[in-house]
């Protein structure tokens, strides 16, 4: 087991996507933001889907709105490259349905349940264990699963269909998201368990 953990760090050290310390730092900040904004809480994530809290959609819309503009200019000036996931319709839709069910029941996503464990939440830890079995079954079943994934439409982006209008589309999307996030009502689920 220890040699496998060492191997994980070794792959990152040789992978060309930042040093181990840099990746740990990115993770540290990521976890800190998730916890400080309370995004990891059941009341925020599940609460969003039963209309009891609006933190998650407002924060996610702000993130995507600002990131899409930043990403556009970073790529345009050669300081980053787009790295888009392929659109494999069958897997995408069935996977998203299972994910949506898991998300509203656990009330956390795969990064937030890790962060929740660090807050002492035992139910999140059980979720992580469940996730480990999910990963196990996926890897074991992959030879059969890959037959069922469906057509791969490739790594497509919205702007691919509107050549030359990349900036306008990015700005329009970003403005729409920012305005929506601003206009959404503030519904804040106050958890008495946080005030001890």
């Amino acid at each position: 087991m220890l040699d496998r953990i060492a191997n994980m760090f070794d792959i990152v050290a040789k992978g060309g996507h930042g040093s181990i310390w840099l990746v740990l730092f990115i993770g540290f900040v990521f976890g800190a933001i998730i916890l400080y904004s309370r995004l990891n809480k059941f009341e925020k994530m599940a609460g969003f889907m039963i209309f009891e809290d609006t933190l998650v959609p407002r924060m996610a819309m702000t993130t995507v709105a600002l990131s899409s503009i930043g990403f556009y200019f970073l790529v345009q000036s050669g300081y980053a490259t787009f790295d888009v996931k392929p659109t494999i319709l069958g897997g995408l839709i069935v996977g998203a349905i299972l994910f949506g069910i898991g998300l509203v029941i656990l009330g956390k996503c795969p990064s937030a349940f890790f962060v929740s464990v660090s807050e002492g939440r035992v139910d999140a830890l059980v979720g992580v264990v469940g996730g480990m079995f999910g990963g196990l079954f996926f890897t074991l079943g992959y030879p059969w699963i890959k037959e069922l994934l469906g057509t791969n439409l490739g790594k497509i982006r919205i702007t691919d269909y509107f050549d030359g209008y990349g900036l306008i589309i990015t700005l329009a999307l970003s403005a729409t998201l920012l305005i929506t996030a601003y206009l959404l009502p503030t519904i804040d689920y106050k958890d008495p368990a946080d005030d001890r």
Binding site: G31, M59, P143, T170
Partner: protein, 168 residues
Amino acid sequence: MPRSIPWWLGGISMSLLFYFTFSVWGADRPIGASTGMSYIANMIFGLDPENYEYAAIVEQSGAWEGVMLVGAFFGGLFMSVFVTKTFHISFIPTLWKERKNKSIKSRMIWSFIAGFLLVFGARLAGGCNAGHILSGGSQLAVSGMIFAVVALGTGMITGRFFYKRKGE
């Protein structure tokens, strides 16, 4: 120190982290989390890339996200102990007690099932909300938008039937 930050400050900080990670000064790749979960699962159950096709596929990006998640754990721990001071052992979330039940056993069984569905579903879809909705959406990826609509729509419908209504 305030014990939480508002949504707009959360969104701004998150996108600054995303710029850094995405650019050549950072990691030159977008942030994701579920491939890391899958990688850690393969590591725990001893499924090595020589014998399992999928373990070989996630070898590179999974290791990156695995290390990133180790960092995320300590980032969360640091904040919950020193800043928000919310660290305490807990079993059932407050809202679950209000809308579902007060049984620890029930919460644990459902957490296990939900965790399973989350990682299995994310692998099937090729990413989770970090990779598909936040990173994918920011790159205007078609896959990310389809994922967001289907996952959130399903979540809202499931939530409607799974939980009791307010005040019931």
